[in-house]
Symmetry: C2
Subunit: 185 residues, 2 copies
Amino acid sequence: MKNMREKILTVATQLFESRGIHASGVDTIIAESGVAKATLYKYFPSKNQLIIEYLREKSNRFYAWINEKLADKKGDSQEVLFELCNLYEQWITTPEFNGLPFHIGSVEFPDPAHPVHHYSVELSNELQHYLSELAAIAGIKDAQTLGQQLTIIFEGGAMIERLSPDSGAARRAKNAAITLIKASI
Amino acid sequence: MKNMREKILTVATQLFESRGIHASGVDTIIAESGVAKATLYKYFPSKNQLIIEYLREKSNRFYAWINEKLADKKGDSQEVLFELCNLYEQWITTPEFNGLPFHIGSVEFPDPAHPVHHYSVELSNELQHYLSELAAIAGIKDAQTLGQQLTIIFEGGAMIERLSPDSGAARRAKNAAITLIKASI
DNA sequence: TAACATTCAGACAGACCTGTTCGCTTTTTT
DNA sequence: AAAAAAGCGAACAGGTCTGTCTGAATGTTA
């Protein structure tokens, strides 16, 4: 087998998101993925590192997806921002969506000095920078402010959509974001 | 001693918020609070119940505080909503603020069937109902929508303010909320 | 087919988990 | 001051945690 690493990461991802990180022991991860313990520790030097790889992988997937979808819209004045809102709604209403991974990381490891918490904060900041840059490209004056406000709505909306899936949170978050964008033009 | 229960709850609260719930063992809680294990299990039949009492206590405190501050403003047309935004910013920028407790509960216990998760969702819904009713009293037409949108912003802002305390998230969340309120009048 | 690398199952260490039960001591009430 | 209640420390049960190591069984390459 060549994709041991991938298989382990896939199983770990499912377990982390369905049971939580602390509640998913290494023994469970190797049992579910049919892998020896030594193999896991060969590809991931520690559970912390496995968690961080999980966060990174999820983040990469998100940006790859949204950048592809947004590729032809960029620079198209404010249109890119409105399309972003649609994609956001689409993303968090997908059945596979289980909350933002870096929320799990930062909550389960509240100590700011912990590598998992630290990396989670980095990912949240990365999202903020991404959205701010998108706003800047779209010609928003105070792009920094709108970027962070969109981050706030997106993270809050993701949280509530996961807690109460059929409450309409995703659409209302999208609409709130649109209102904010229009107000900042 | 008469306030054993309170002491246990206080220590548990601090531990839950600084280390996380799963990472705070019963042994640690009793050691920090100088209480015998049997005493803890007399006041709280299980750790789950202790967690739920922690969530309830924190929630009660919040509503008591905000209702007191808002008492004279209620019914004062939209003024109550703007004051609410100020209080919100105040609340999450307090040094004692460590994130929304029901976020911790829902993330650390992702299984919807788990009592802690279930109660956490209840608390998030309660916040939403509270804000919706406030909006209704203030005369907002679609109070349900504004209520949930404010919830989204408040929860998202709380999250990011905790992750990046000095990024201005609290103020921008407040301003976003104000923009949304004005847009819905 | 022979040499090499990888993966396997499982034991092991040392620590921690929740919850129960035990006498013994302290505090409160009558 | 005597009786009742409450709390203490400590041990116990049965399980789980991360991480290391071993020898045997696979798989790959030459």
